[in-house]
Every structure is written in C-alpha cells, then in structure tokens.
Assembly symmetry: D2
Homo-oligomer: 346 residues x 4
C-alpha cells in the first residue's frame, strides 16, 4: 500500500524532518515538497543529509499537485495552513497541520495570541488536536489534524495523569521548560547564532508564550475545569530536545511509587511514552531523533510537591514524528511505521 | 600593600579560577598552590592558560609555608578544610574555605548530608557564611569564612528581598536551577564527558541535593522562620554559568514593578548585583568570567506567582570570585579589587 | 533468515553503536553482549536510548554462549581480540574485530605501535582488512575481519583513486584530520570532559599516532609502492564526525573536474561513498548517524596541489556501521541491510 | 594620560570586543561608538555583558565627534574605512582599521578579491600593516594602521621564522586553518545558526579565500621572494579561536629542537607570542579572551615536513586585541596596557 503525500513548506526544520522520516516510511510515496523561494532547486541541494535519499526538487505551492495527494502536511509558518487547508479538504485530501493554525478551539483566543484574524474559524471545531495519547479514536477518522506544539506535547504528557485523576491543585501548576535551539526554527536571527546561543542559557517569553493557551486548553480538558499555569520556556545550548520540569501540589496523600504506578497504567498501551523506574531521570539525548516521550515522577523530601520530568525531541515527538504518528493512525497503518529509529546516542 | 596568599588544593576548577583571579590581583602575592599528586610540577604545565602569568610549582600541603601566609584559600574536596583550618587559624592565618565544610551551622545536619562526622564542630559557630550581600559587616573581622556554594548563591540572591519583606508564601518555594558542567568539578567521570554531557539536558539529584540544606538555612534566616523549598538542579550543556528560575506565591498584592523597585533598593549598594529593567532577561554568557549576579523579576499574566531569574558564573560569583570578594572585605581592600574583568561575550 | 550475533565488550561507544544498528537489523538475532564489569546488569540501564529496543543483560565473556553465535563482533580495547578470536574461529564462528589487533600485516610493526607482543601473529595473514571499497571480494569468504580505524577509513577513501592511478607524488602526502570526541572512546579522562574539550580545538599525537602505520599500509598497497605520509589528528569540540583534509601534489596535469570524474567512476558501485558535485563541500553533520563517506576534490588556484575533503561518522562508517557492512558482505546479505538510516540533521 | 578614542561600527564582534578591552584600558577615554541602525540606543542594551561598564549610547557616524578623538578604530564591513579614513587623517586623527581596506599594497589585487574599486589607493602605501612582530618600528609613527585579519595573524606568526631564514621550500606551503564561528561576524545567516554550525565541521572557501592574498603578501615579504600557499579554512563548532596547522618542507637538515630554538630567539622580545616547549601542543581555549599567539613546532617521524601549530583568539590577537596592541605602540604606551587579562579556561 502506498499513500501519496505532499509537504507544504519543506525548507524549515519541521519540513526537513518530515522529509527525513517519510523518505524511509514503508507506506509512503513522497509526491511533492513545496517552497516558493527554492522552487526548482533540488531538496538534497539544500539538505545535504538527504542526498541519495530524496531526489525531489522543491516546487512552488501553486504548481504542486497537492490535490492528487492522499495526505498533505503543512510545515508552514503560522497563518498559511488556515488559508490553504479548506481547498485541499474539499478535494478529499486529508490535512495534517504542524503550525498553530488549528490548535486553539477559540478563534478569538487564537487572534489574541497570534495577532491576526483566523481565516477559517469554521474548521476549528472539525480539527482534531493531534495528541494520540488523548485523541487516538478521533484521529482515525480525522480529515484535519492540528499537530501539537513541542512544549505542549512535553508538558501535557507530563501532567495528564495527575489532572485526569484530580490529584493535584490544578490552579497553581508550574512548567519550567527548556528547549534546544531548533525549536526556534530555521530562521536567520542573530539571537540564534552559534556565537550567541551556545555556551549560554536564558529564559524567554516569561511574560507570555504562545504555547501557553494551547497547553492550558489541553490541561483544562484533562482536569475537567479551568487550570492555572505558570509557563517559563528557556533556550538551551543544544540543537534538539525539550526537557520539561513540572511542579504541582498534591491535594491527596500519595507516594512517588503510587503516582508512578498511575503513569505506567495510563500509558501502558502507548507505543511512544516510556515511564521510567523509580529514581531514574530522563536525558534529552536519549530521545534524540526518536519519537519517544520519557517520563519520571518524584516527590522530593516526601513533601507535597510533585515533580515530573518529561523529555522529547522537539522535532520528532514535538513536531514531525508526532505528525507521522497521527498520519499512521489516520490511515490505519502500524502506528510505529517509519518511527522505529533508535535515538542517536552519543 | 601586598598580602601573602596560599591556595590549598589548586588543581580543580575553583582552585585554577582562584589562580586566574589572584594572579592579577593588585594587592596579592601568591605564595603557594598545593597539590599532593602534582607536587613539584609547574602550575602552568597543568593549566596552559596560566603560562606567562603564574610561575609557581605545586607543592605538597605539608611542605607549603601556609602559616606564613596572611590568608589561605581551601579549594579542596569536602572534608579537608575542616581538618586543616584550625591549625592555620591558631597561627593567625585567615581562612576562606570554598568547600562545604563550614557552611552549615548544625554539625548533625552536615553529617547527614555529607556522610561523615564533622571534624571541627566548634568552628561552625565562628565561621562566617560568605555571602557579602548578607554578612558584609561580619566578614570584615572574620577569621574563618565559609564561601557559599554556587547554587546557594544564585538562589539566595534571587529570593532574599521577597523573604526579608515577607511578601511570599515561604512554605512552598521552588528553585529550578540549571548549571554548566564545570559545577561538577574537574573530575574524570564518564557522565561529564563531552560525548555524554553535551547536546543533552537532564535533571539530577531531584530526590535531594547537598545544596538544599545550605539554601534552606539561608532563606530561613532571611524569612525569620523555617521555609519549604523544592530544589531541582539540572546539568546544562555548557562549561560555565548557573541560571536559577525561582517561583514563589505572593501573599500580598504587588506588581512586578513594585517588586523590581524593592530589589533595586535592596541591592543598591551592591557592586556585584545587577537588577535588570522591566522585561529584560539575563543570559549566563553575559556574566561568564565576571563576578556579577544579574536578576530579573516577573509576575506572568498578572497572577500571584512571582518568577525571579538569577544568573551567575558558577566559578566566579559562585565560587572563586566570591571568595576573592570576601577576601577583599576581610582585608579592608576595595571590594572590587581583582574582580573588574568584563564578562567574555561572545 | 536470522543470524545469531554476539558482541564482546559492549559498554563502549563502538559497542553501543553496534547494539543500536544490530537491534534494528532485519536479519540479526542479538544473542549476547558481554561486559566483565557490568555482568548481570541490563544493557538499557546503561544506555538509556536502548530502552524498549534491547532487553539483553550484559553477561561475562566466559559465560556468554559466543560459540553458538554465527558471528561475533569484538568491540574491545586493543589486545583482547587477538587472544579470544582463535577459539571462536576454531568453533566455526566468524569474527569481526573493531579493535586494531588484526589491522597490521606485520606483527613487529604492530608491537612497535601498540606496545605489546602480538598473541596471534599466525592470524594476521588470514585476517581480511575490512574496507569494502578495497576488499569486498575477499570479505565474502572471510572468517576473520579486521575492521578499519576511523581515521584510516576517511583518509584511505579520500586518497585511493589518486594513488591507484599514480597521479600524485606518493612520497609527500599530508592528512590533516579532525575528529569528534567520541573517537577517543567512552573513557573517564579529564581531557575529554565537556569542560576541557568543548569550546576548544587542538592537535594531538603529532609526533606519531597509531593510525599512521595502518593508513600507510593501505595507501602503499593502493600505490603499489611505499608512501610518505604526514598525519596530524585534531580533537574537535563535537561528539561525532571526522573531517579529513588531504593534500597531495599532482605529478601530471589534471583539472579538478578530471579528478572528480575519476572519483565518480572509482566509487560508482559503492553504496556508501558519495562524491559531491564541483564546488560543494561536505559537512560532518550530514553523515551523523549514517554510514556514508562523502568526498569533494579541489585544485585551489589551479595549482598543482590537490585538496580532497573526506567526511564520515567515526562511530558508523568509521567503526560499527562499517563492521555491519562487512557482516552483510560476509553473510551474503543486502550490503545496506540495517544501514539505511538517514543522517540526523540538524 | 587619557587618550580620546572613537569606534566606528561598534555593533559587530570586533566592535564589541574593542569596547570590552578599551573600557578597562587605563589610558583610554571612550568618546564615541557609532552605529547607523542603533543610533540613540544604549550600548549596554545591545551587549548585556557591558552593563555597568559602558554607559555610552550608539551615535550615528555623521554626528559623532570623531575628529575630536585622538584615535579612531574602524570595526566596519569592508569598504567603509577606505571612504572615511582620509577625512579623519586630515583632521590629525590616527586611524586603526580592523577591516581589510588597507591590508593589501596593490589596489588592483584588492579590487579582484573584494569586488569593488578601492576608494583611497593613495593611502595604501602610507598604511602600516599592523603586525607588531614585523612592523613595530613603523607602527610607532603610523597615522593609518591596517589591522591584520585573524587567519593572516595566526598563519604569518607561525611561518615567519622559517621563511625569514629560508629553511623551507616557500613554493609549496600549506595552511590548514580552523576558526570558531565568531570569525564570520555577528551576521544573521542560516549557516551560522547554532542548529547549523554546532556539532559539525566543514571546510569553506577552498577555491579561494580573501585572506589568501593578505597572507601571501606577508609571507613573500618575509621570504624575500614570491611564495606558493594552499590555504584551506574550516568552520569549527565553537565561538572563539583559530588553530592553524602549517606544513612546509625543509630544504636543509634541521631538528625540531633547532627550529624551536629559532622560534624562541625570533620571538624572545615579543610580549604576546609564546613558543611552547618540545612536545607540548597549544589549545585554543588557553588563549580565549587573551592576546597571546601560542606556537609549537614538530618534525613528525624525523622526516622533512615541518608542522607548526599556531593558535590565537580570533577576536583578540586576531582582531581587537591586536588593534589595541597597535594603538599602544602608536601612542607610546606600555604595549600590554589593557591586554593583561588571562585566558578564560575552562
């Protein structure tokens, strides 16, 4: 079985990661990779690692035969998919959007955080939020999938079991998150130069980061009521990886072992969530290039504060890998197809 | 004026950093750098950056003329200074210990965390905790100074103003701290190899880190009552720098601007504490090699959670630089003598 | 078809890389991973990235059922395979040694460079040097394969076409090679700490590196006469990758395009050698985690000095990947089996 | 004594490094730092490490009182100083240009390599090439100094003694140079992002780099005849540092010890050139932030190929530090004034 796939906006990191994963996917035929700026140039010319693996040339979006594809991935900046998805959906193409365009249920909320009016508010209800650990059933029949952000994936998978069971005070959650520089995308910005971002560590967006409403929406759904979250992202001097350190206060007596058992049970059937044994701590490098989310749970000094450690590769489980996982679910494939690679360590 | 100085245990990072700072200190004459293993070998042979600047050879501790020094710095592993300090103090030498031996007031507490009996409990009361921003007056006449740990310096300077004024719930403080690899010292450990520690991020010591009781002791003194702290340290893929992200819940109405004004006032006379303007965030690289602690204060989404960002160079303000600052105070020198270097950026 | 495989000495980087590659190899059944120190402990406990992929426990060499394996890889320090290979060969097991034990034809030469007497000089003639681009035919029937070193692989593949055709002065070859820190192995050494090896660049072994005789032996065979080589290795602040910059003087008139055509022809049938188009330069990151060697040829300022750029991942084409490639050839499998992964970029 | 100094183009790395060095220079009063884009904004707002050290605001070039300065440094892109220097010189201001505008004697050669016509060819003869180890006497009275490039500094200091004595074949010199990313400047380019340039190593400009004619001009002057040089620069995954590995063929019998003695003698009076003892190799980190050039000389396997290792900090001895050294010489100051800092290691 071969599924025809197109990628819109394939010159960024989520796009090139989709190319890396889909090029080896047993059930996929890569039909088109679009780029307005690079149209006509070879994909492997831009991405040296794809030499001998991808022989497509970039094509302008308008000239790409996207409507003949079975599925189209949008790896575009925010604001593009919300304009282009409708036409493809009407043509019977199933769409997976890796941008933020369809992640928030509320168009007004989206506009507040993204600074532009939403072009397809009517699609917001249909769009399925692509966190398989929460929405697998809905994803099977989804026409339009909103692939989660990188921080939201790491933070939600870390908090979900606690909130679903109502074990912590959902009004004062804290997510201290650290991301490698690839999370900022393949953009020529001085602040992201090796000379500026390596050998240094800093927080950013403390006053308010766009992933905050997305995380809050997901956590509130899990808790069944509104939640309060303080989210502080940090830029870490490495290429890939997110490490979320999560803090919540227990509202009921529980040991770390109780909580760990709960996490193990909650994620027992999940192919890409790995709950570690007591005392072990996850490292981002051990998921580098893989689709795993690895979790650890602690209650330091036997107090009431729960600490959850959650790591992912921001470009894989935090973007392209999760998109492929959603694609596999949508098309009834083995959920791990094309995602079996072992993390590259060291 | 020239003050004779000796360094015990000069082959580690705090020791080599003391050598780097003291070699250019206008009022210091470096008399001895001890090392049992490297006795007889040249300091510049081990530390290439000290060629043309330091022409001492390492000498065995017992053969070093430490008693003829005016001041001796211990840059030794925990458990050494508590054995050697007394004899020097009796000889009239003033001692600055960069290890943890004299940081905790309570010998029993020290034994619980450091796993050995304290050899000089009687000195614990005399030892002055060397955080100039808190104990400057006492440091002037101190014979024995316990130089603070790196995490404790960053965390205490960030929390002090809030706790001294009783503005936050001191029972649920959170310190999410990130340190460069030099914080672990110059030790041949697989986990600290470039191949293991670079391009990765992880938490460690979540169940309990030795700096926890030291931080708690200092914060409780500032608050005037016992405090509750969750402290999670992380290993960051860089050489130098600590970034502490601190969380506390306001118990009174206040704006970020109110709090910032409080910090500015609290540290107005401090030569090495820099409170940033509203909205600005500190970067560890901007204190690399310098003795500054740089702070920012936020109240995200106008809620009740205060977020304080605190950065230092763990080897300078977090170790050797603060030790030199304490030395300057003890000997009535310009507090900034030997510490005027600008951070190396980029 | 499933081939039973054992790995002797699986706790180093070449060993863990073999585990990473063989765990996903379609024709391999991993039977044993030995370690004297870690016997009884789980492989995934030591290598977090192998969780969910490898559920073996390390076993002591003597208790491992190595003789029941079809093939055994030695990923041991120099001096081990030369003692253990014979017994396995006698039991009909085919052996691939990733150490240096069987790389040099001359036992005396080996002893000079490795400082110990060779334990199995009689096997040196039988051992096939595992550079498939040179010895593919012999590898098909080999019982014992000496897997090349990382530098020797990059340097030989870069020089071979020039020497085989006698186009350059073979008496004054220069190989300026740069390697990531993983080339030094998973050893607890101060010089390899992140704090010592990152943010710095240095040469080492200038007076004479053990890979020199191995490279010279291979280049002399290609040239059909003795060669003169100056080989300067450098430690580069990254985890993986070797970049060899090769210099030779043309003894005949030729353009870069002529030479490139020669390289393209020489490696036309090679699945893992990629000769770049004129003007393009290879990056080590574009082979990170892959088995490719990528080459570029230049003649700067139209002079007589040829510059060849050769890059590999030292742990893959420079070690474990090439070992698997040799294994595939020995057992008549698809030469690319288990080696199809695309490099991880960024 | 206080010398009024201005910096034209102070927003790049050579500019910020000049600010870092001059802010602590005992004989300098910083009068102006110009930037067209940042005019009116505070210097410390752009460069966080200069907070508390530099309280200037950037000023537009035309409104800067540059003519009232005693000395003006140009830290501008190529093509700017050649237009602005004349007016300042006529006003009696002494000029130090850190760009390439006045480095080549031949205006035609300059135009070939820099792609624009030279605006002040008449000044090319007056300009003194600012390599103190060669032109100290001329620098004392120079009005206009052409500060050398980073690669040219490292390569020339490494080759000079050999060429001045005519000990090697000057027609086939090889310089394999490796530079940290700061050598490319503070420019928003995708190729210099942490995500693109870290964890990778590559050559660039193999066909011809602009520093080639500058190096050749200097080496030819030392040799007293034209020379042949193959120069291959490489991008290294670190912020600061250049390591040049130089190869030349002896035309006379000599031992490494003979050559080392020659280097020691040649540089005996040089405050910033450090020739290492036999067998020792320089590391770039050991000159990080310092003005030293450190050299080692080898003759591997007692052959005829000399290998010289030369390291500098590209932003200090390779740019701003050497500019300050030249400034000190021009104004009769202690040559080491403002340049005494010890390298930051680790």
């Amino acid at each position: 079985m071969s599924i025809a796939v197109g990628i819109v906006g394939a010159t960024g990191y989520t796009g090139s990661e989709l190319l890396r994963l889909l090029a080896l996917h047993p059930d996929v035929e890569l039909r088109a990779a679009t780029s307005r700026d690079m149209a006509g140039q070879s994909v492997a010319g831009l991405f040296q690692h794809l030499r001998r693996h991808v022989d497509l040339a970039f094509v302008a979006p308008e000239s790409a035969a996207l409507k003949e594809c079975d599925a189209v991935f949008f790896a575009t900046p925010n604001g593009t998919a919300m304009r282009g998805a409708k036409e493809l959906l009407d043509a019977g193409v199933r769409v997976i959007d890796l941008s933020a365009d369809f992640r928030l249920r509320d168009a007004g909320e989206w506009q507040r955080w993204y600074g532009m009016e939403h072009a397809s508010p009517s699609l917001l209800n249909e769009a399925v939020y692509g966190l398989p650990e929460v929405n697998r059933a809905a994803l099977r029949s989804a026409r339009l999938v909103a692939n989660p952000g990188c921080y939201p994936t790491a933070v939600q998978l870390g908090f979900l079991p606690l909130l679903e069971r109502g074990l912590v005070d959902q009004s004062r959650l804290i997510a201290d998150a650290k991301s490698g520089a690839s999370g900022a995308g393949r953009k020529a910005e001085v602040g992201l130069l090796l000379t500026e971002a390596s050998e240094s560590f800093k927080a950013y967006g403390v006053a308010g980061h766009r992933h905050l409403p997305e995380i809050s929406q997901g956590l509130a759904a899990a808790a069944g009521k509104s939640i309060g979250l303080t989210f502080v992202p940090h830029l870490t001097p490495m290429i890939r990886g997110i490490h979320a350190t999560l803090y919540a206060e227990l509202t009921t007596a529980a040991t770390a072992e109780d909580l760990r058992a709960l996490y193990v049970e909650r994620y027992a059937a999940e192919p890409f969530v790995d709950v570690m044994e007591p005392g072990l701590m996850p490292e981002t490098r051990a998921v580098r290039g893989s689709n795993f989310c690895r979790l650890s749970i602690f209650i330091p000094q036997g107090g009431r504060t729960v600490v959850v450690l959650s790591v992912i590769d921001n470009l894989v489980k935090g973007a392209a890998g999760q998109a492929v996982q959603n694609f596999n679910i949508m098309f009834g494939l083995d959920e791990q197809a094309g995602l079996s690679a072992i993390a590259l360590q060291p």
